[in-house]
Subunit: 401 residues, 2 copies
């Protein structure tokens, strides 16, 4: 075998855009296919190969590859950070943050976002085809962890030839990936900004996820996870899962301010089970639009990865051990009204970083918008993120745009 | 028609114990059947007739009928307050509070608890038979309100010849009934103790209830509400509803203390979707035992009644108007870690009572047990309730046992 042949068998293959993801859905964007000879070892003990990482980039990688920011998406987010979403037609989930002249200034930084392993927007996951069988993986896809997601991302970063990411950031489950990056590959992370997250999933977090999973698995259309092969879709169960989760993303105050007890398109109670209240109508809508863009099995896998996340447990039970000797510059951000990943959980990360003598700043943003605040217009949040990035960019000697 | 005949047609009929409630379930206890000539006017505009109120009593009504305490049960509670439950075989839900020598001392007080209208333990509700059709009501049962529940209770109190209840008390939805009693029939309520409740259902409260209802209605076995006639049971949907609700009954701290991230009957993660964590196993158990004792349509009706509850709206938009001129003695109790009906909601009731110049005391109990604290061993709570009752009993001249 020549070196060229060997390279052809082992080098990741960049596929053209518009690769088919699932029946009826064709996604634009970039996909990197890692061949069978480069398996990805997973925490469950299985090695995944071949596997695919779908991703998007914004801005331009500079000559010394020092301006790359890896943005990690949350539970039901994806790689379409700052462009019209190809499935929903809606703006990207961080379009207010990522773009020319914005906080993540694409005139200065090169932004990368991958669809997480286990996801359903092009990366390998239960909805994709198992090459060994030609059938969708379904529940035969290995159960993955946050660390596995990060391992897959690192393969992409290696492929792109980026030795050191200028920053790794993300909110919620994205923040867990940030923490895992900083713990697993500290020399590859110049700065890290985990937002509205936790170093472990709490009992309440697990409980809410379990309700969602049970809602999906209670739907007969789920068919033991093999609904794709049977041409079915557990839409009702997935919608209920989304509704339950959505409540946890908002604060009681935000729900009160947005909806209160206002009625929906009526002046009086109907004395029935229609959506009398605006908040009911809103939740039903959130459930119904979610099923058009998300795969039910992916929801099981990704919630499971969150539940399994416990960074201290990975490091002998002491969170500070995850960060010993780190040179990464950290900024931890939490929101006062976030009850899903409250300030106390974020502060626990700060304490561990302090115990490891890390370079860390911590900002708690006052807002009544709840956990979802990291996706919303929050001037103080934008200022915090921008300020941290600017400071780090000066330390790294990145040119101003 | 003689007076005797007319009486026979119009007087409520006390049925013997062990009346059949639903196929396979035979309940002990008392049932009062109000005849067709005594319809119950409901808030929805319909009059319900005939209708049944199932109830239990503990202790002895004294000669001047001045020692009666009406205990109002919560969402999924029932009239079996202080005895082995006939369906579950478990102790009554307030057995630590109600009994000889206990806080609600049955040597001193006569305790009454009715199954709420819309319930499924013998009172008229969607699971009972519509006499006009001979079929279960299902969704043709009229949608009821907290005020309707109280109206039905008052019929029982009238029947028992009790002019003035010594106390009306209850937690959660029971507390809403207490507030409604005090507002609708102030002259019939000597003292009132609403616990861990609110004068209106918040947007977040409605949202969680809507998730539960959607989980039930998403279950194909629900069959548009006519499952009884079809010999089906929407158990999976009802279990999911219960699981989601159960999280709201506990505080994050209580979940952490009880379960944390402890694994269930295993030493390592299974990398699957079984109940790896104790909190998952606990929730699944709560869901599975609930469906054995509760009717899915009842769950829809009773959650709806809570959502519709807005005492201020019933009184021109000003909560204090609900209590103008009241002579009832009030004690409001809340729990620090209750995020379902937080102290702020209970305090809003206190403020309204103060604005109405009512006799009111307010106690916030420090506990990490969450909303369910009113059902649990809480010495400070017991002392608060006992102290209030003793003070009221002295004012009313009730003999010590």
């Amino acid at each position: 075998m020549t070196d060229l042949q060997r390279h052809a068998m082992t080098a990741p293959e960049v596929r053209p855009a518009m690769a088919p993801v699932a029946p009826g859905i064709v996604l634009p964007g970039q996909r990197l296919e890692f061949p069978a000879l480069e398996p990805l070892p997973l925490d469950c003990g299985v090695s995944l190969a071949p596997f695919t990482v779908a991703y998007q980039t914004y801005g331009t990688l500079n000559a010394d590859k020092s301006n790359a920011i890896l943005v990690c998406h949350a539970l039901t987010g994806d790689q379409f950070v700052a462009e019209i979403h190809p499935v929903t037609g809606k703006p990207g989930w961080w379009e207010t943050m990522v773009g020319p002249g914005l906080v993540f200034d694409t005139d200065r930084y090169f932004i990368i976002c991958t669809n997480v392993l286990g996801g359903c927007m092009g990366s390998s996951g239960p909805a994709t085809v198992n090459p060994a069988t030609g059938q969708p993986w379904g529940l035969s896809f290995p159960v993955i962890t946050i660390r596995d997601m990060v391992r897959a991302q690192k393969r992409l970063i290696d492929h792109l030839g980026i030795d050191s990411l200028f920053c790794v950031t993300g909110g919620s489950m994205g923040g867990m990936q940030v923490l895992e990056w900083a713990a697993c590959y500290p020399e590859r992370v110049f700065s890290a900004m985990p937002i509205a997250t936790a170093a472990r999933h709490s009992a309440q977090n697990i409980a809410f996820h379990e309700v969602g999973r049970q809602a999906i698995m209670a739907d007969p259309e789920w068919s033991g996870g093999s609904y794709q092969r049977q041409g079915k879709r557990p839409e009702r169960g997935l919608a209920v899962a989304r509704m339950a989760a959505h409540i946890t993303y908002l604060s009681e105050a935000a729900l009160h301010r947005k909806f209160g007890r206002s009625l929906q398109d009526r002046e009086q109670l109907s004395f029935g089970f229609d959506a009398d209240f605006q908040v009911e109508s809103y939740l039903r809508h959130q459930g119904s639009i979610f099923v058009d863009r998300f795969d039910a099995n992916s929801y099981l896998y990704i919630t499971r990865a969150c539940d399994y996340f416990d960074l201290a447990a990975e490091h002998g039970g002491t969170l500070a051990n995850a960060f010993r000797g780190t040179k990464t510059r950290f900024c931890i951000v939490s929101f006062t009204s976030d009850w899903l990943y409250p300030t106390s959980e974020n502060r626990a990360v700060v304490h561990a970083l302090n115990a490891a003598a890390a370079n860390v700043s911590f900002v708690e943003i006052a807002t009544d918008k709840g956990h979802d605040a990291f996706l919303l217009e929050e001037p103080e949040f934008f200022a915090t993120v921008g300020g941290f990035l600017n400071g780090c960019a000066e330390h790294r000697g990145l040119k101003r745009p």
